[in-house]
Amino acid sequence: MQYRAAFLFQSLGHFLITGLEFVGLAAVFQRFDRVGDWTLPEMSLFYGIISVAFALAEAIPRGFDVFHRLVRTGDFDRMLLRPRSPALQVLGHEFQLMRIGRLVQAVVVLILATLWLDLSWTPARLAMLVFAIAGGVCLFSGLFILQATVCFWTIESIELVNCTTYGGVEAAQFPVTIYRPWFRKLFTFVIPLATVNYFPTLAILGRDDPLGTSRLFQCLSPLLGVVFLGVCLALWRIGVRRYASTGS
């Protein structure tokens, strides 16, 4: 923590960027009182939950995000030689504490949502919240790992995968019903962002789903985020094995 001033500025910068984004969105609600069928307090809950998950996911497995650098400089080869899981090593490579700026902003938004909705956090609701966030962290981590896996084939980190991470969080900040059907399906079945945000939040709010899902499904859906992580890890392992065997 030597570079305390730098750390402070960077955290402040992240807080500001994300904070301005939310302030802007909230300001638009002054002119339009709802987006789709959702009010600002409701949207804030969706926004807060997925942003917390993303902020945590950004901080922890960040090593995978800069993975392309490791491959290019040959650092990854060194990691393969060590007697520890390559995944764990890449994970520990870059623990970005400065992402706390976004985390603070996300928590602030959650608190605002709670106040605006006059929401009482019963144990059931809290459990749902933790479960949803955990599912979200798994999902975004899976996406970062996927991004790194793509590097085995192209070396340069493909910017298109950024669509799924940063584009994904931006899209998931809104309840998925506002989007067109094909987009909704993409983010429910392919990259299951809806399962770690939209459905669990419906359970917390106690609202009925315009898409017609059952309460049981809504409560269990974050599991799909964990499943997604498993799939991404499996793909990663395949990539590592093939990389090591090509003797590069």
């Binding site: 001033a5 730098a6 500025f9 960077q10 402040l12 910068g13 500001l16 960027i17 301005l20 984004e21 802007g24 969105l25 300001a27 638009v28 002054q30 002119r31 339009f32 009182d33 709802r34 987006v35 789709g36 493909i158 910017e159 298109l160 950024n162 669509c163 584009g167 931006e170 899209a171 809104f174 506002i178 989007y179 067109r180 987009f183």
Partner: protein, 264 residues
């Protein structure tokens, strides 16, 4: 003048070669544009949609223009110059018979022009083909739009150069380099189209220079500004460019003198 134009054309040619990166970037931006467009479509489904300063089609056009001209609002430091300052190699630059500020500004302008054109063309074509980008309000609007974008490039370059100059003081590039881009990005209109922000905020937004990067050119394109407002906005862009250039020159003189005094 010759050395500056030579620098401009050389960098232009070099940057045109970064085609692969550009293609990937375009895909990303199409995605983000789509998401934003759908979000605002959803806002416009509410009953108060009819009384807004912009209609739904104008907002959609604004968003796609924003994706096309995104680089106008993305302020980044000139990496080479930053390294030069950090390593002290800037001293060599000072010995040359070229004005340092003009050199950095020329670099900043050329750093933006080629990537901007390369990014804008395909996004404009694709969004127009899908019918989500409206054509300019008139031939006049289109011409004035081009002028405004050109001014926007110089304005953005002036901001970037100021940020680079700040390195003469902080070296590690913190502070302004971290917070500046976020503020500029938001107040240019890239996050929320400025007319959609609350009415009480509009005077403040108009006074700030950042709308000259995004909001002014786009509203000229759409014919959203009256003739009088258009003239005033263009004049404002020019005025801010002059002010920022003047400030930049003063700061460069002070900053380099400071380096010399410290024996750097």
């Amino acid at each position: 003048m010759r050395p500056y134009t030579a620098i401009l054309s050389a960098r232009f040619r070099m940057l045109l070669q970064y085609r692969a990166a550009a293609l990937a970037g375009i895909g990303t931006q199409l995605f983000f544009g789509l998401v934003r467009m759908m979000i605002f479509e959803a806002f416009y489904r509410s009953p108060s949609a009819g009384q807004q300063p912009m209609d739904a089609q104008q907002v959609t056009t604004y968003i796609w223009l924003g994706q096309a001209f995104l680089l106008l609002a993305m302020l980044h430091l000139d990496g080479d110059v930053a390294t030069m300052i950090r390593t002290g190699a800037v001293a060599y630059e000072m010995v040359r018979p070229v004005d340092l500020y003009n050199l950095w500004l020329a670099r900043a302008i050329s750093n933006r022009t080629a990537p901007l054109m390369m990014r804008a063309a395909p996004i404009l074509l694709i969004s127009a083909a899908f019918g989500v980008l409206s054509p300019p309000a008139s031939a006049e609007s289109a011409a004035l739009f081009a002028v405004s974008v050109a001014l926007g490039i110089v304005l953005a370059a002036a901001f970037a150069t100021l940020m680079t100059i700040s390195l003469l003081w902080t070296i590690s590039g913190e502070g302004i380099a971290r917070l500046g881009p976020a503020i500029i990005f938001f107040f240019s209109g890239m996050v929320i189209p400025l007319p959609l922000l609350p009415a009480w905020a509009q005077p403040v937004l108009e006074a700030l220079p950042f709308r000259g990067l995004i909001d002014v050119p786009f509203r000229i394109y759409m014919g959203h500004l009256s003739a009088h407002e258009t003239l005033r906005s263009l004049a404002q862009q020019v005025a801010w460019v002059i002010a920022l250039v003047a400030l930049g020159r003063v700061l460069v003189a002070r900053g380099t003198r400071r380096l010399v005094v410290q024996g750097g």
